[in-house]
Amino acid sequence: MSTAYEPVIGLEVHVELGTRTKMFCGCPTLFGAEPNTQVCPVCLGLPGSLPVANRAAIEATIRIGLALNCSIAPWCRFARKNYFYPDMPKNFQISQYDEPLCTDGWLDVPVDGGMVRVGIERVHLEEDTGKTLHIGGATGRIHGATESLVDYNRAGIPLVEIVTKPVPGTGELAPAVARAYVAELRDLVRSLGVSDVRMEQGSLRCDVNTSLNRPGEEWGTRTETKNVNSLRSVERAVRSEMQRQAAVLSSGGKVTQETRHFHEDTGDTTSGRSKETATDYRYFPEPDLVPLAPDPDWVAALKVSLPESPRAHRERLQAAWGLSDVDMQAVVNAGAVGLIEATVAAGAAPAAARKWWLNELAQRANADGIELEAVGVTPGQVAELQQLVDEGTLNDKLARTVLDGVVAAEGSPREVVAARGLAVVSDTGALTAAVDEAIAAHPDVAAKVREGKVAAAGVLVGAVMKTTGGRADAKTVRELVLSRLSQ
């Protein structure tokens, strides 16, 4: 895109907490249960029911706030956000408005070999809504649908909203900064053990705000892009919105303040609600709940018990793995830190673990447009695969084939080896027969080798690999060829 414009970005991330029970009632929070089986009068908003705040959710929010270097409010309140929508049982959401639990923090984010400090405006606690399924419309949205079904299992699950301050001055790197911020935040939240932060399941959801201005001028009108549900999409959504706005501005138009929807398939955003039709949420303090006044001693205790930050953790691993900054950055960019760590923990050497995740598996993830974690192989399986290589059962080529089997859910590496019969031919008798066969089939090549042109042996090795279906160790075959021809 043109450098005639400077972007300012801002991110709102929603994290579903992994508490055992919901925010304001005792219903379980398991993902994927039969619709409307994890509900009670409270989370269904039945007349007469009342909310009671979940202490574990408050604690988790304070820990997130502390990890983001925020101040914790000594006294704050929940507020009602009023609007009508069928997935909200009470037609208001219990949230926080002008008195959030955590304010004014920051998170350092590694981008392009450097660090970008992203300011945190606020971290607050609210309840999630139910899920609506619109049937019969072309878009899957409510307009044009013939039927709408609502599942209230998700209604009332504690949701933490983390809002950044505006991030100016990142220029062309803005999409990468957005992505790196969400990735770093995800790792941070995961390290706290308060959420499984799985974007594909919606336990981490992201809205991105983008605006453009000419250098030196005031910030431009921003748009809010919703429905950005993977790290890759975060980057694409910001880039797409920067390009769109630049085109609008370059042609003399004005950017409209509006909500836009990101589409995974096209990578584009389309217009949603405009500011003019925005709802007046009529926020007011939630009268059914008492104010929240966390004991300062409790907050202090939570602060000292925070785990190692992902950044410190990465620095420790980098030293242990002996990686350069550039190599470590590649690992981070690929989202492979935790995966490699787990693979090493399962017995693989760091270099081997890194090789599998960064080369073989990252390529597959990229080709499929998915996150590395979603590629379908566990760190334990990678370690097992490497062990098979180390013990000589597999060569590199065979190991990749075995990996195909693991990805195709055929089982563990050992199971795939057994099922597909892929082990290296280590029976010397059988290999010697195959070598002799190759020598007999290529007498001219054999003659050259005998004359000392050792490089020609490659043809014979290739022939043996072919007849064994790749199930031989090339180095062993080569040694065998040379030894037979020197006799």
């Binding site: 009068p41 007469g48 029911s49 009342l50 909310p51 009671v52 009023n82 049982p89 208001f92 009529r282």
Partner: protein, 489 residues
């Protein structure tokens, strides 16, 4: 006659086996058959379930169990409180036919104490009103004069108790909905300290004000019921985790007729002005009677009380506009216009248009406006400040007086239709009761005499968690004046 017995007496008779709970329940059900066509206090009568509950109490007694003081005593529950398996309509068309899957905490405690729930009583729709004329199912008639209102919103429970259809009732008080019906039907109605009784299962009108409380014919009965339903409830975050004051002991102490050393505060801002002369006279006589029992009288000033009514009519509608948003036809209750041609918004809108009455709509619109962007500070915010000032008025007044006294309501029961055309005239019924709601302290209405042949209520207000004080003074007054008996129906 059994139905004329107090709840305390019935409890003793049932406990000693002189009369069975079933007989007591049948007597009240028979009374209902006789007078309900005239009074219309009930929206739902649970005949079979009541008899079953009564027989269960009799069985427990037969098995040698020691029963509580109100076991087997019949009670009428205002229809704004959820009852499992029994319709709960809030006297609104929008909830017609809704049967809650759960009991309110208050109802659970009634069951645990062995009380027999006779049914659900009439009220102004969603507890918004002072006459029961805003019930979607027709008004309740005052047993003292069937052409007059029984007060509201809890006119049904008060009328049922006044007409001997039930020994006890449960009401809810947001701006006076227990006390004002008590005053105009010659019964006792108490609003406990906010948070002293659980709101879990009370269909919210104004969450920061709503308080369930007892309706009875005597102060002791009210105290006995208060003791059953009060106490901390973990399901209501605003419920106070403190012991319940000894209201029964206080009522019994008051009934001895000794108020030596008790300081009664007369609120200057509430003296005379606005009240009917007959009401003023009866209240003045009552104060005199109390001084004869040893009470001291001091005049106190509560300068912000005149702003209570306007503050209330911003806070309560604001909260109600949010609380009543859930009635949209999506999950339960009435649904209008869902014929496959209309959008969700249209169906919600048609449902609310058809399901809510005029007064409910008026308050939703008022509250929606008061909370709107740009108006919040001027209306809701300002009203909250007034609320703080009223609380300070109370705190200061309770340094000079142990309780504050006033008329419960400025006028005796008025004829049907006389105030429905002017909402403000209707709102004035709660002029004296609203300050305690904004403050959160307890208050009770006890009959103190007649004006033009109709009952007058005397209000005793106490500090937060000082519920026992008001019972003592109310019981003393009750002991000093002749009992009021309504004319035969």
């Amino acid at each position: 006659m059994v139905i004329e017995r107090t709840a305390a007496e019935l409890g003793r008779l049932i406990g000693s086996g002189e009369v069975s709970a079933e007989e007591v329940t049948r007597a009240h059900l028979d009374r209902m058959t006789e007078v309900e066509p005239k009074v219309h206090a009930f929206l739902h009568v649970a005949t079979e379930r009541a008899l079953e509950a009564a027989r269960a109490v009799d069985a427990r007694r037969a098995a040698g169990e020691q029963l509580g003081p109100l076991a087997g005593v019949p009670i009428a529950v205002k229809d704004v409180i959820t009852t499992r398996g029994m319709p709960t309509t809030c006297a609104s068309k929008i909830l017609e036919g809704w049967v809650p899957p759960y009991d309110a905490t208050v109802v659970e405690r009634l069951h645990d104490a062995g009380l027999v729930v006779l049914g659900k009583t009439n009220m102004d729709e969603f507890a918004m009103g002072s006459s029961t004329e805003y019930s979607a199912y027709g008004p309740t008639n005052n047993p003292w004069d069937l052409g007059r209102i029984p007060g509201g919103s809890g006119g049904g429970s008060a009328a049922a108790v006044a007409a001997y259809e039930s020994a006890l009732g449960i009401g809810t008080d947001t701006g006076g909905s227990i006390r004002q019906p008590g005053a105009v039907t010659g019964t006792v109605g108490a609003k406990p300290t906010y948070g002293g009784t659980s709101r879990y299962g009370l269909v919210a009108f104004s969450s920061s004000l709503d308080t369930p409380g007892p309706v009875a014919r005597t102060v002791e009965d009210a105290a006995l019921l208060h003791a059953v339903i009060a106490g901390h409830d973990p399901r209501d975050s605003t419920s106070i985790p403190a012991p319940v004051p000894d209201v029964v002991g206080a009522a019994r102490l008051g009934a001895t007729g000794d108020l030596t050393g008790v300081r009664l505060g007369l609120v200057r801002e509430f003296s005379g002005e606005g009240a009917e002369p007959g009401v003023t006279a009866a209240v003045r006589d009552a104060v005199e009677a109390l001084t004869k029992l040893g009470a001291e009288v001091v005049e106190v000033s509560c300068p912000h009380f005149p702003y209570a009514l306007p503050a209330y009519y911003l806070i309560a509608p604001s909260e109600c506009s949010s609380n009543l948003a859930r009635f949209d036809g999506v999950r339960y209750g009435l649904r209008v216009g869902d014929d496959g041609t209309r959008s969700l918004e249209e169906v919600m809108s048609l449902t609310r248009e058809a399901g809510f009455g005029a007064e409910v709509k008026r308050r939703i619109i008022l509250g929606t406006y008061a909370l709107s962007a740009g108006y919040y500070d001027a209306y809701y915010g300002q009203a909250q400040k007034v609320r703080t000032l009223i609380t300070r008025d109370f705190t200061a007044a309770f340094e000079q007086a142990d309780v504050l006294v006033s008329p419960t309501t400025p006028f005796v029961a008025f004829p049907f239709g006389s105030r429905t055309s002017d909402p403000y005239q209707m709102y004035l019924a709660d002029l004296y009761t609203i300050p305690s709601n904004l403050y959160g302290g307890p208050a009770i209405s006890v009959p103190c005499g007649l004006s033009e042949g109709l009952p007058v209520g005397f209000q005793v207000m106490a500090p937060t968690l000082g519920d026992d004080r008001m019972y003592r003074v109310a019981a003393a007054l009750e002991s000093a004046i002749p009992p009021l008996t309504p004319p035969a129906l």
